[in-house]
Symmetry: C2
Subunit: 199 residues, 2 copies
């Protein structure tokens, strides 16, 4: 069982994740984190040296959770169904959040890549891993001709990740699933994804 101290630490990280997502890392103050987590300043500084330390820990937690998501999001009866499942799961994930907060990695990429190299390094790792997983799955789909084969899996994977991030941005801006959903539907078409056995 988690000790009281561990519970406090987890609570701070959980609430900080949400505050960073909605407000941005730079604009978040220690007071915002205290208010969100209902913690005293003494408790917070017992667990973390400063806001950067909390930010890094939040990003690491999100990285682990995203890697778990990547492990199971490509499940499907065929390679193309796996890709389709990923698109579906990504849309559901954003919908559940009510298109608030968006993608912490995308946000951090835009907000801190010019100013916080440590964060940028971690976020680069996450995107590289995401693209790698997509490339693997597209390669499988290309092997059975369930996706266009005239463009390399690596190139397609990079474009797909860029499109999803841009789609999340648009959906968050409009507070509607439409932009992300439509971008994913268009992706399916231009990638010539064949999820049905006989089409």
């Amino acid at each position: 069982m988690a000790t009281k101290g561990e519970q406090t630490r987890e609570k701070i990280l959980k609430e900080a994740n949400q505050v960073f997502k909605c407000k941005g890392f730079g604009a978040t103050t220690i007071n915002d984190l205290l208010a969100a987590s209902g913690t005293t300043k003494g408790n917070l500084y017992f667990h973390f040296s400063d806001k950067e330390a909390i930010g890094l820990e939040v990003l690491r937690g999100e990285q682990q959770s995203f890697y778990r998501f990547l492990e199971q999001a490509f499940q499907g009866k065929s390679p193309a169904a796996g890709l389709d499942n990923f698109f579906q799961k990504a849309l559901e994930k954003q919908s559940r959040q009510g298109f608030v907060g968006g993608c912490l990695f995308g946000n951090t990429a835009l907000e801190t890549s010019d100013t916080a190299p440590v964060f940028a390094g971690l976020v680069q790792e996450v995107f590289a891993e995401w693209i790698r997983k997509f490339e693997q799955q597209i390669t499988l789909a290309q092997g059975v001709e369930q996706i266009r084969t005239d463009v390399s899996a690596g190139e397609l994977a990079e474009m797909v990740v860029a499109t999803i991030e841009g789609g999340i941005m648009q959906s968050r801006l409009q507070k509607s699933e439409t932009p992300l959903k439509r971008s994913l539907e268009t992706l399916r078409k231009v990638l010539e994804l064949k999820t049905q056995p006989h089409n």
Copy 2:
């Protein structure tokens, strides 16, 4: 000729644009803006009531400059060449900035859409106009079969803008033109863009 006061105002807006792009709106303080523009606090508050007022004016300026960019970025000998020219110009624009700062609209979309509705409204307008222009140009290209015609121009336009924004994000993160350049090249392929008269 601009008066001294007008020059000061312009200087503040010009420097604030760069600071907001690199540091994010939320993390920028009035002191950052004073340091960047070499202005006194008295001068700054003579021209602007607060940071939000500066942010809105910076966004409006960027909007006007982007609309001018949109007016001439689609020039080309054919509709497809116009689309290709846009891709090229967008890459050059980001390269000139050294992949620092990225796209102010994308940054603002991610940073303030959950917290600053006024900014979000303006940024939505900009994206809607950008997508509309792309849709027009794609419609022209579809009319002469220089781009795939099995997906509607509106759907393709939305996806293209999402992909460019995601590509800018990745290039900014990596401080390299490669991600944006490759995403644009892959777009050309999956859109089946025919810029040469005989291919």
